[in-house]
Amino acid sequence: MDERDLVFYGTPIEREEELSSRKKKAVAEASGQLRTLPTWKQEVRDEEGRRRFHGAFTGGYSAGYYNTVGSKEGWAPQTFTSSRKNRAELKQQSILNFLDDDEKADLEGQSLATSTQFDTFGFTASEVARKQADKEPSAIPGPVPDELVLPAAESIGAKLLLKMGWRHGRSIKDSSTDSLYDARREARKAFIAFSSSDDTKSNIDGDANHVNDHSNSLERPVNDDNLSSQYTPLNALQPKQDLHGLGYDPYKHAPEFRGKAGPGFGIGALEEYDIEDEDVYTTAYDFEDTVVQEVEDSSKPITDHKHRLTWKEPGILPGFKVASISDYQVEKFNAPEVPKDFVPRHKFAGPLKVEDKTAVPPPPDVPPPEDSNMKVLIEGVATLVGRCGKLFEDLSREKNQSNPSFGFLMGGNGHEYYERKLWEAQQKYKDQKKLPLPSDGKSSQKTEKMNAENRGKILGERPLERSSSSLVSPDVNLQSNLSDTFMKPLQFSELPEVSKPFKDNSAKQERFQQFLKEKYKGGLRSGESGGASNMSEAVRAQERLDFELAAEALEKANRGQQSNLSAQQSMDFLTSAGMQFTSAGVEQSKDTLDKDFEMKKMYPKREENQWRPSPVLCKRFDLVDPYMGKLPPPPRMRGKIDSLVFKAEFIPVPRIGDKTGQNQNRSSGGLQSSAQGVRDGSADEEEDEVVVDVENVERPVDLYKAIFSDDSDEEAETSKVSKVEDPEKKVEVANATLNRLMAGDFLESLGKELGLEVPPDLPPYSHTNQNPSALEKETTGLNPRDGSSVKMKITEEDRKQGSPPPSEDRMDRRHSKRQRRYDSISDSYSSSSGDDSDRDRYSSKSKGRRKKGSSSRDKKSSSSRKHSRRRHHREDVSREYSSSRSSRRDKDRGESKREKRKRRD
C-alpha cells in the first residue's frame, strides 16, 4: 500500500527523512500530477503532504487534529499515580464511559441485557413476595442469607427447558411442528445463549443494581405481568422479513414510488416511470418487496460496534441477519368454487311468488275484449305485472278500486283475458331471464318462438296515439307508456319468420333477439350481454357488429312498413343483408380449422425488397459491398424511389405543394368514413380481403406498364363500372397520372444512372409465394338507403367455406399493411391487367361510397365503437391516410402497446 493512502491517527513519530520525502511528494503532486485525476479522486494535502479532510463549503477543513479525534498532543495516556497516602483507585471502565449521551439513550432503550424484570412466569414476583413475607418475621440477625445469595434469574429447570425449545406459555409436552414456531424457537435459543454470554460482561456493574433491586422489589410485581406479556409476543401475524425498523416507511418522503418498488429500483432520476414499467410478471411471480441487498453488505467488517449496539429491529438478534429466503410460507386457500349453475343475481320475493304460479297450467286463450282501449290497458298492466311481480298488481288494484276500467283486476270484465296476458308476460319474463344460460337454449328457443308470435299479435298494432287517447287515469297511462319504452325493442322479435336474419342458425338468432331486447333495456346497454359464453371476445365483438347491422336494417324495414313505403325494397335488403350475415356468422361459430386453413394458404408470404447495407457493415462482416461503386441514391430522391418503385414500408408522402389541399380532402373524408356505420362492415371486410390480395400484386411492374402503356382504356373502364364517382376521385386520378409521369421521368433517369434492370414482364424486386389465385365475382345488391348499387365481391374460396374469418389477428396484419394498401389505391388507375384494376377500383370506389353515407351513420357507429375493434382499425386507416410516417408509428405503437407490454419480457 502506498504511504499516501494511509491516514494517520494520533501523533506520528516523525522521522527526518520521511518528512522530507513526503514534502517532496507533496510538491510533486501539487505540480500537476494529481490534476490528471478526476476531481473526486484528488486529495487535498497540507504543506506536509498529509491528507487533509476535504469537503464542507469552505474549501476544506480538518476535523479535530488533522482529521483525528485527538488533540495536538494526541491521546494523552492516563497518568497512573499511586502513593501510599493516595492509593490509586481501581477504575472500573464500562462502555458507558465512552458513549455520548444520545448514544447512551439509544443503548438504554434498545440494548440487550438480562434484567430481573424479565419475568415471564411471574416466578420472581411470587418469590419476592415470599421473601418479603419471610423477611418480616426474620429472627435471624444480620444479613439474610437469601439476600446475599442472588437468586438466579431463572431456575435451572426453566433454563434447560427453554434451551430445549420449550417456550413460555406452553405446556411442556406440547410439541408444535409448525415451521414458523420452530424457527422462532431456534431464534430464542440463540437469543438465550447470546444473552447469557452477555451476562458476564454486564454483570459487573449490574451487581450493585441487583442488590438495590431487591430492596425496592415490592413495586416490581405490578408491572411484571404486563412486561411478561410484552416480552413474549405470542403470534406475530405478519412476521417482519425486511431490514427496516418497525413502522419504517420507505416511501415516507417519496409517495410517488409507493407500490412500485421492486425490479425497477434504481432507475435514474430523469427516467420517467411510465405505465410500461409495471411488472408484467407480477401475477406469475411474487417479487419480494425488499430493497435489493447489495453484496457488499456481507463484506462489511463485523467489528462494527456501533451497528451492533444500536441495532434497531426488535425481531433480529445482534449478529444475525434476516434470511433472504425464508421458509415462512403463508398457506393459501383457493377461492371457493362457484357452482356452474349459480346465477349472480338476487331473486326477490315478489317475482318468486309469480314464478310459483307459473307452474299452474296456463289459463285458456281468450279473445281480447272488443274495446281496444281496454285491451291495451289490460296488456299494459299485464306486462308490467309480469315484469314487476304480483305486488304491482295488488297496488294498482288498491289504487283503482273505484275505476271501472280496472275491473279486470277484480275479476270483472276482461279478467280472463288479463289472466292470459299476465301468464304470457310472466313466461316471457322468465324466458328472458333464462336466455343468458346457453344450457337450456333449446327449450327457451321454443317458448321464444311462441312468444314472438304472440307478441306479434299483441304489440304489432299498437301505435302510441291510441293508448294516449284512452280513458284510463293519467298515472296508469304514464306507466303503460313507460312500459312501452321498455318493450319497444320487442317489436323486432315479432317480425315475420322470413325476416329473421339468422334463421339458419337458431342459436345465433336467439342471441340476436336477446341482443335486441337488451339493446334498450332501461335505456342502457347491458354489460354482460352478447354471445354465448363459449365464444371468444373477438367473435363476440364481431357478432355484436352483425347484430347491430341487422338491427338497424330491421328497424328501417319496420319504419318502411309503417309508412307504407316499399316494403319490398327493404325486405330485399334484409334478405341480402341476412345472406351477408349468415355467411359471415356461420363460419365463425365453426371450428377454427377453416381459419387455420386460410392462414396456411395466406402465410407465410414472401416479399423481396432491395436493401442497401452500409459499407461499414459490409466491411465488418467481411463481405464485398454489393453496392460498391454505385452512387448512393440522394436522400431526397430516395423517398421517392421507395414510395414509388420499391414499395417498401414507406407511406406516400405528399409530393407537390398543390396536392396538400386535396390530401386534406381525402383525410377528412377518411375520418368521416371511419365513423361510418356498421352496415358497411361486411362490405369492408370484403374490401380488406381484396386489399390483402392487392398486396401480392407486383407493384413495380404495374407501374412500369402503367407508365409505358396507354391508360385511356382504363379510364373508360373505370367510368363504365363506377357510376357514382366522386369529383374528388377525378382529382385523384389526375394526381396519380401526374405522379406517374414524374415517376416515369425519374425512373428513366435512375435506370440510366444506376444501370438498374427492370425487365418488362418479370417482377424484378418482388415475387409472391402462394399467392391465392382468387377469382372474383360480383354480386349486386340494392342499398335501400342511398339507392346506389352496392357491389360485393366474394372470392371463390369464400363461396366454398364461407367468407374468411375477420379475426383479430388478421386485422392486425392488415393494420400493419395499410399504408401499402393506400399505395395501391393511388396506383389503381395505372394498372392495366383486368383483374387487378378491377380490385383496385373496387377498393377506391367503396371508399368513395363510404364518404357519402358516413354522416348519417355517425351516431350509431359511436354507440358501437367500443365493441368493434375492427372499426378501430379502420379509423386508424383513414386517419393515417394523410399523416406522416412518424405519426403513424406513434399510433401503431400506442395501439399495440398494451399487447406488447405483456409480450416483451
Binding site: 402465410y603 407465410p604 454489393p626 414500408e649 399487447e899 405483456k902 416483451r904 419480457d905
Partner: protein, 299 residues
C-alpha cells in the same frame, strides 16, 4: 438421436437472480452459460457444476438479452434502459455503451467475428453497432419493420430478425436485399437451425413455425404449448432432430422436427419459461424462468 436422449433430467439449479430470469444462453462451446434478468444483472455460470462465476452489474433496468463472443472475451447485453452494453468478460467492466435505440432493446447478437453487434428494439428498428472502432453511433439502422422487433439472428452474411408485425426479415448483406416472410402472427423469437437452412419462429398464437429459408415455405408447425403474451425462446436441438421451447405454464416441450409430434414435455419451472438454450454439442439444455431460477437439464 432418439427421444430418450433428450435432456429431461434436472442436473443443476442455478439460483441467484432475484426476480425473473429473461434469458439464459450457452456460450459458443457450451461450457458456460450466461443469464440476465429483471434484477438488472448478467450472471455467468458454469452450468455443469452449478457454480455462479461472476455478476455483471451496470444496467439501469432489466437486462433482456445477452450474447458472448465465440472467443469468450466480450459480452454484449441489452435491456430496458435502451442501451446496448459491450462488456469485457474478465474484468466485468463496460467497454462501451451504445445508445441510440429510442425504446427498450429486446435482443442483441454478435456477428461471427464479433466485430458487429446487432440489436433489435421495441422502436421497430434493428441497429448494428461497431465493436471495432470507438464510435458509439450505429453503423446502420434498419427500420423497415412496422412493429417491435423481438429477436435477431446473425449468420455470416445475413441479419435475420423477427418482429411483432408478423414478419421474419432476412437482410442479406452480400446480395443487398431484404426478404420478408410474413407469418401472419406476431413473431416472438426466431432461431436458426444448426445447418442454417431453416428458421424456427415462435409466434404468439402458441405455435412454432419452421420456415425454409431459401423458399420461404412453411415446413412445419409445432403446437401444444402456450405462448400468448410473453417473449419466450425456442430452439432446435444440437442435432436438429427436435424442436424445443418453453411454455407459459412452466413446461418445456420437445417436438419431433419432422412430424411435429410432442415427443416429450415436462414441468421445468413454476412459472413462464422465458428462455431455452441448447448445448452446441452435448445433450444438455438450460432453461430460465420467471420464477428466478435457471435449470440445467441433461439426459
Amino acid at each position: 438421436m432418439s427421444a430418450s436422449d433428450l435432456p429431461t433430467k434436472e442436473a443443476n439449479v442455478l439460483k441467484g437472480h432475484e426476480g425473473a430470469v429473461l434469458a439464459a444462453r450457452f456460450n459458443a462451446d457450451g461450457n458456460y452459460c450466461l443469464s440476465c434478468g429483471k434484477d438488472r444483472t448478467i450472471r455467468l455460470w458454469n452450468p455443469h457444476r452449478g457454480i455462479h462465476i461472476k455478476t455483471y452489474k451496470s444496467h439501469g433496468r432489466e437486462v433482456r438479452d445477452v450474447h458472448v463472443t465465440p472467443d469468450n472475451s466480450k459480452l454484449v447485453s441489452c435491456g430496458g434502459d435502451r442501451q446496448v452494453f459491450y462488456w469485457d468478460v474478465s474484468t466485468g467492466r463496460v467497454i462501451r455503451k451504445f445508445r441510440g435505440h429510442e425504446s427498450e432493446v429486446n435482443a442483441v447478437k454478435f456477428n461471427e467475428y464479433a466485430s458487429v453487434a446487432v440489436s433489435a428494439g421495441y422502436d421497430q428498428s434493428l441497429r448494428s453497432w461497431d465493436c471495432r472502432s470507438h464510435s458509439t453511433e450505429p453503423i446502420q439502422i434498419i427500420d423497415t419493420f412496422s412493429d417491435s422487433v423481438m429477436s435477431v439472428c446473425l449468420t455470416k452474411t445475413e441479419i435475420i430478425a423477427g418482429s411483432v408485425d408478423g414478419t421474419v426479415r432476412t437482410f442479406d448483406i452480400r446480395v443487398g436485399r431484404e426478404i420478408s416472410d410474413n407469418l401472419g402472427q406476431p413473431v416472438n423469437c426466431i432461431s436458426l437451425s444448426n445447418d442454417g437452412n431453416c428458421i424456427l419462429a415462435s409466434c404468439l398464437d402458441s405455435t412454432l413455425r419452421l420456415l425454409d429459408r431459401t423458399t420461404g415455405e412453411l415446413l412445419q408447425e409445432y403446437k401444444g404449448h402456450t405462448c400468448r403474451s410473453f417473449k419466450m425462446d425456442c430452439c432446435l436441438t444440437n442435432t436438429d432432430a427436435h424442436v424445443t421451447g418453453g411454455s407459459e405454464d412452466g413446461y418445456v416441450y420437445f417436438w419431433d422436427l419432422v412430424d411435429a409430434t410432442v415427443v416429450s414435455r415436462f414441468r421445468a419451472h413454476a412459472s413462464v419459461v422465458t428462455s431455452v438454450s441448447y448445448h452446441p454439442k452435448d445433450s444438455c439444455m438450460v432453461t430460465a424462468s420467471v420464477d428466478g431460477t435457471i435449470r440445467v437439464w441433461k439426459t
